[in-house]
Structures are given as C-alpha cells and as structure tokens.
Amino acid sequence: MAYPTDPIYKLQKEPIYGKVCAVNKQIGDSEPYRVLSIPFEEANTDYQEYLAWVAEGNTAEAAD
C-alpha cells in the first residue's frame, strides 16, 4: 500500500499498451483504506473533482 498523500492523486498505467489508464486516490488513514480508481470520463464527478484539483495548479504523481 503506497498511495500518496501529497499530491493525493497518482496516475496508473495499463500493461498492454503502457498507456495511462486512470488516476487513483486513497481516502482514510487506517484499514480499510478506500482507494478510488477514477476514469478519464467528463461526466464522472470524481474526475471533475480531479480536474478542479489540477486547475488549482496541482500535479498528480506519475505512474510507476
């Protein structure tokens, strides 16, 4: 379990084409952790929240 707390988002890659496929966010500081894997879909409100966070000048941690 190695999710960032600052920045709070981390990009993820899929293994077939090696492309970034989602952005993850961990909520909570004890088990069970809640981990969100957010698709790049404009109508998704978690993605809207992520975009607002980026618009504030933040950058997600790069994918491994």
Partner: protein, 423 residues
C-alpha cells in the same frame, strides 16, 4: 308510465336539483350545464362526444396530468436502500442510497443513519417502514456562521427535463412532499435548486414543527422562465428537504416560495439555533416524493428490487462483503504478472464509474492454475475499455501463468469492490 319533459329546473332544493337547458343539456346541481351531462358545474362532465371528464377525484388525490405510474422523480424516497452502510458520519454519500449529506462548522460530527419505524409512527401506517435520521453532535460552540448540516438528492437533468413538467411555465407545477419528525420544536427550512446554466433556487419553510411529532410537508412549485434544465445525464435539479445553516448561508430578506437566482448566502431565512445547540437532537425524514402536478398524491411504493435497480445506476458492487473465499468475478491472465478481472454491472450506470475499493492487508486473493496470489488491493480500472455497462479491473505484480483463467475472491470481511457514478 308517461314521459317527464321539462326545461329549466325540474326540482330545486338549495343548490341541488336537476336542470335542463333549451339545447337538452342536463345539469345536476349545475345551473349552466356545459355538456350533455354536467354535475356540479364542471365537476363531472359527459359529452357531447361521450367522453367523461373528471376534474378532480379528491378521495385519491389523482388529478388530470398526474401520471399513474413512475410518478416519483426521487429515487429511494422511502429510504429502503442502503448499499454502503446503514449508518455513517461521512460528509458525502455514506449510507442510504442517492442521498448526500454534508456538515461543517461543528464541534462533533453528526450521525446519519437508516432507521426502522414502528407501528406508532404515522408514516409506518402508510407503508413507510424506514426513515433517514440525523442525530446531531454536541455543538458546544453554538451555531456558527459557517455551520451547516444538509441533506440532498441530486436528480439527473434528463429525468426532470422529460418528466412532463413545463419548467419554463409559471402555470405548470411539480409537487414535493415528505414526512418529517424533529426532537426540537422550532421552524425548519429547505429548498430546491436547479443545476444547469444560471442556477435558481426556491427556498421554503417547513413551518414550526412540534417536537417528536410526524408532520407531512407539501410544497407545490411552479415553473419559471429563467430555469434551465438540460437533456443530459448531469445533475439538473437538487432537492434539499431540510438544511441547517449558520448566517453565511442565510438571509432574512429573501422571499420564500419563489424562484430567485442562486446565491450561496440566500439558502433560507436566518435559522433558529435551538436544534443545533441541543446535544443529540434528531431530525427524521421519509416518504420523499417529487411529482408532476399541483397535488401531492399518496407515496408511490416500489418493490425492493425495483428501487435497488434505480439506485444501482449510481452505485453498485461487484459482490457484497462476505469474508474469506467470497466470490467476486472471473479474470484472464494477460501475462505472467497481469490479470484483467471483468465486472459487468447489474444495470447501465449513469456514466463510466469510479472503481471504489475497500483495501487492506491481504484483502484479496486471485486463484489460477491450481494456486493463488494474495494481495491488498486492485491496481486500477482501464479507462480505455470501461463503459457504463462494465469494466476491466487490472491486477498487476502477481505471479500467474499467461493464458490461463482465474477467479477473484474477497479474503477479508471488510474487502469490497464497488463502482460509483453518483452526481
């Protein structure tokens, strides 16, 4: 037997009697019959084409234009469905489906819970056996300017847009009704709000509720030419049946029961602080219905399965929690270290959802080729292949045999894979 022929009153007693005009139209308790048969000056009419018209059936509250089925635009208005939990202190979605709550400016978090009603509760006698209950914390600092506890359901714009409500017309109505009970006697407030274009709000008072007494709230809301409600799957309309606010959010000069341009500081009149400052005060609500027309009809009950399916458009699970070796889904081993787990949703979701998993040490186990790998969490979903109908969930960094199939199980009582497409 001889014919009885007459013009004018056959017999009249008070406002009753039978009347026939020169055209042969007959009225009962109706001095100017407008059709072949007219009872009560238009209350019930037949003809001249033989079509009966009933303007109001008061015994059932059905009126012209009220749909007979699927009347309720609110989902889970009976508070029956609670897929996430039956109780939480979450700010957001945490318990009963489709209902979002927030709090701020408080000393102790409130508790939000689904509760069961009993035969002594008025809604129970109407078939409403569950309610949503807010239990306040101990707010020793009093009602601060930033204080708030609210309770809200956002509705997909296309569901309002296509409901039959002519929301641009001040003579077209929707009606909001629900049951409430508070532990403290005082005035309470709520509002509805649009969420497309320039937002507009319609604040209202619930009146002064008597402590520990169930009261039915009914608000008939007209359309307004300024409202914008799009034909899409975004949030278009919000229902806030009750909201507690400090003065950052209130304004005593606003007009209740009228549409006005949305301003965060104009959500209600200034609020009495008694409920807020009473430790463990409670507020319960159930039977929330928003429907086309100007009359609140009896609550439309759905079966558990039907209501669950409505909720699953916004939140569903790959499988319920179940402890060790609880089946979740099948997978395919793409390589020696990567497996894709395919999950098909029970209904088409509002949009491509977020994978929302509960994780921890050794929460999950993937079986393949006569062995298994145990791990803490799934890596992610794959946007490129995800749809509102289903997704591929990726698990990387495990040792498996390429080309084989596998299956995923929960391995811990708290493990759970969910999908959320809430508004």
């Amino acid at each position: 037997m001889s014919d009885i022929r007459f013009e004018g009153w056959l017999h009249r007693s008070g406002t009753g009697g039978v009347y026939q005009d020169s055209a042969g139209n007959v009225g009962i308790a109706s001095t100017q019959p407008q059709t072949r048969l007219d009872i009560g000056n238009g209350g019930f009419q037949v003809g001249p084409t033989g079509i009966a018209t009933v303007t109001t059936i008061n015994t059932t509250n059905l009126i012209n234009g009220t749909p007979l089925t699927n009347r309720n635009l609110i989902i889970n208005g009976a508070m029956h469905i609670a897929q996430r939990a039956t109780s939480s202190t979450t700010s957001g979605y945490g318990d009963v489906d489709r209902w979002q709550h927030e709090y701020a400016g408080n000393d102790e978090a409130p508790t939000f819970a689904q509760v069961s009603l009993t035969t002594s509760d008025t809604p129970y006698t109407l078939g409403l056996t569950k309610a949503f209950k807010i239990t306040n914390g101990n707010q020793t600092s009093g009602l601060q300017a930033t204080s708030q506890i609210n309770f809200m359901q956002p509705i997909e714009a296309q569901n309002i847009r296509n409901s039959g409500w002519n929301y641009k017309s001040s003579s077209s109505y929707i009606t909001l009704s629900y049951w409430v009970r508070a532990s403290v006697t005082q005035e309470y407030h709520g509002f509805v709000k649009t969420a497309d274009g320039s937002n507009y709000a319609y604040p209202f008072s619930l009146g002064t509720l008597s402590a520990n007494t169930w009261t039915k709230i009914t608000k008939t809301i007209p359309g307004n030419s300024n409202l914008q409600i799009d034909d899409n799957n975004g949030a278009g309309f919000q229902v806030w049946p009750v909201a507690f606010y400090g003065t950052n959010y209130t304004n005593d000069s606003i007009t209740e029961n009228a549409w006005a341009a949305w301003a965060s500081g104009n959500r209600s009149h200034d609020q009495t602080a008694t409920w807020w400052t009473t430790n463990d005060s409670t507020f319960e609500i159930t039977g929330v219905q928003l429907e086309l027309g100007s009359v609140a009809t009896p609550f439309e009950h759905y079966s558990y399965g039907d209501e669950l399916a409505r909720c699953q458009r916004y939140f569903c699970k790959a499988a319920e929690k179940g402890g060790s070796d609880h089946s979740v889904a099948l997978g395919a081993n793409y390589s020696g270290s990567n497996a894709f787990i395919h999950v098909t949703f029970p209904v088409t979701m509002r949009t491509t959802p977020t994978l929302d998993q509960l994780t921890g040490t050794n929460y999950y186990r993937y079986f393949s080729n006569g062995g298994y790998e145990t791990f803490d969490d799934m890596n992610s979903l794959d946007t490129a292949t995800a749809t509102p109908e289903g997704v591929e969930v990726l698990k990387s960094g495990i040792s498996i045999t390429q080309g084989s199939a596998g299956f995923l199980r929960y391995q811990h009582a708290s493990a759970e894979i969910r999908f959320t497409a809430e508004l």
